[in-house]
């Protein structure tokens, strides 16, 4: 081992102390960074100062385009926003290999492209590139070029850069996570807003023995199901229930459109058959391919306790009373597929009986062994709770459904003449 003169030993110790202080300073600054680009810019200025480098930059990976984007830089030319392919150049090699790149003479490196020099006008002679490593793989590269004094970077420079790359990687990955969280929160807020808007379309619950009761439980924030009821001037009550094929935003938008359309036509007092035929022709003209709506609409006349309805591909309408249960299956196909269809009417007098309309999210509710409830299961459910008054009955039926796995929006509408 060579003896180190006392004076040099002192200088070495001071350099080490300075490096350690720099790592500690930057680690602390980056850990508490709120504005990532600003913090990285400040960190870079100190890094190139400590290494005596001419310039430096932080490139972060844009996973959508597989490009490295300059997010911070220090040096004579501002290259923030510069994009380079993630799989090329020495910077790309640092990212792909996850290893610090130590290039003594850039011109002789086979991967050197000069792409950044072309923008900055600075000739890269010597370079260090440290990957920013996270638990989910490399997310970028911290790079410095050219010693001011014309010397080459050495091992001590490389080790210092590696030490500084660690807190920079943490700060960048934290910032990305925070951005993600904020984006999620924003989407959630918008979905909640969409949900509130949808709910506001559903009629308010009417108390005091109103003959129509309904409930809608979306599988997610927003629903493709809807129900409606409204009073006509002659005392009859119009009702509608529907299920838009599909889930998510497009189904939710069509639900809004369809609910408004059915209410608009229903208030004209046409027969249920005409009501659905009009809605069908309108939807066939306007909805996109593969989209359709299953719906049942009708009127209930409290004066005579008679109900008349038509059904377009909606699950069977269930009539339940002390004498037993009847199922009225749909006679028309869903709305929005073929124009010019007819929708035959069905009717019943409800004296002492109740009419139940339920979306297929109810029949598709699965038990622990993944068996679906089916129409027979719904009939059994209605029978089990038949002795309760309407509000309690509906609540108990929904309570039983919630003990199952509901993969779809579930909607129930019930009509019962006041006793």
């Amino acid at each position: 081992m060579n003896a180190v003169p006392p004076a040099d030993r002192g200088r070495g110790r001071r350099a080490e102390d300075n490096a350690l202080a720099l790592v500690a300073d930057l680690a602390q600054a980056l850990a508490s960074a709120l504005d990532l680009s600003a913090s990285l810019n400040l960190a870079l200025a100190r890094i190139i100062g400590a290494l005596g480098a001419q310039g430096g930059a932080v490139f972060l990976l844009d996973t959508a385009t597989r490009e490295l984007v300059c997010r911070a830089c220090a040096g004579p030319v501002d290259i923030i926003g510069l994009r380079i392919p993630a799989d090329r150049g020495i910077v790309g090699r640092a990212l792909a290999s996850g290893q610090c790149q130590f290039v003594r003479d850039a011109a002789r490196d086979p991967d050197f492209t000069g792409a950044i020099d072309a923008v900055t006008g600075i000739a890269t002679r010597t370079m260090l590139g440290a990957p920013l490593l996270t638990a989910h793989g490399p997310i970028g590269v911290l790079q410095v070029i050219n010693k001011r004094d014309g010397a080459l970077f050495d091992e001590a420079d490389r080790d210092l850069l590696r030490a500084l790359a660690a807190p920079a990687a943490l700060a960048a990955s934290n910032a990305a996570l925070t951005e993600n969280l904020l984006e999620h929160a924003r989407i959630r807020r918008e979905l909640q807003l969409a949900r509130r808007m949808q709910r506001s379309l559903l009629p308010m619950r009417r108390r005091g023995g109103y003959p129509v009761l309904a409930i809608n439980r979306p599988a997610r924030e927003i629903s493709g199901d809807f129900y409606d009821h409204f009073d006509l001037p002659d005392g009859r009550i119009g009702f509608a229930i529907g299920d838009v094929a599909g889930k998510g935003l497009d189904a939710a938008f069509l639900m809004v459109r369809c609910a408004s359309l059915l209410r608009f036509i229903g208030k004209e007092g046409l027969t249920p058959a005409q009501w659905l035929a009009r809605a069908n022709d309108d939807l066939c003209d306007t909805v996109a391919g593969g989209t359709f709506v299953c719906a049942a609409v009708g009127y209930f006349d409290p004066a005579t306790a008679s109900a008349v309805w038509a059904n377009a591909g909606f699950p069977p309408v269930l009539l339940h009373g002390p004498q037993g249960t009847q199922l009225h299956r749909a006679e028309g196909p869903p709305l929005g597929i073929v124009p010019g269809m007819d929708f035959p009417q069905q009717q019943a007098t409800l004296h002492g009986r109740s009419l139940y309309l339920f979306s297929d999210g109810v029949t598709d509710a699965r038990d622990a062994s993944r068996r679906t409830l089916g129409v027979d299961g719904v009939v059994a459910l209605v029978r089990r709770h038949a002795q309760w008054r309407p509000e309690t009955r509906l609540r108990r039926i929904v309570g039983d459904l919630r003990r199952r796995q509901l993969g779809d929006d579930t909607t129930l509408l019930m009509i019962e003449a006041a006793a």
Partner: protein
């Protein structure tokens, strides 16, 4: 549980054989195959004898195929729907929409 779909040519028709439970988790694959088929042929039959369950997203893929054929003057048919599929089609009265046949020969002759 096995599920999937496979497209083959039979003269001027294409036949898409679908099997297993068709639900939201992969009904997009069925939809894509249906639309891909119409890029190559004007007549498509979807064979449904081995489908044990179909949800509304699966039905939507079939409806899109039907509408595509209708718009372009092509043909679309369902072949030999299994009991569970037939029950869904009949309950929603989609048997009034889709041409349904026992086999491709019957669809061809219609």
């Amino acid at each position: 549980m096995s599920k999937g779909c496979e497209l083959h040519r039979d003269g001027d028709w294409a036949v898409l054989r679908v099997w297993g439970e068709v639900d939201l988790s992969w009904s997009q694959d069925v939809r894509r195959q249906v639309l891909d088929a119409f890029a190559k042929v004007r007549a498509l039959a979807v064979q449904l004898d081995a489908v044990s369950y179909i949800d509304s997203s699966g039905i939507a893929a079939l409806v899109e195929g039907f509408q595509h054929a209708r718009g372009k003057g092509g043909r679309f048919a369902l072949l030999a729907p299994s009991e569970p599929v037939r029950a869904v089609l009949e309950l929603a009265r989609l048997d009034r929409v889709f041409p349904i046949y026992a086999d491709l020969e019957a669809a061809r002759a219609a």
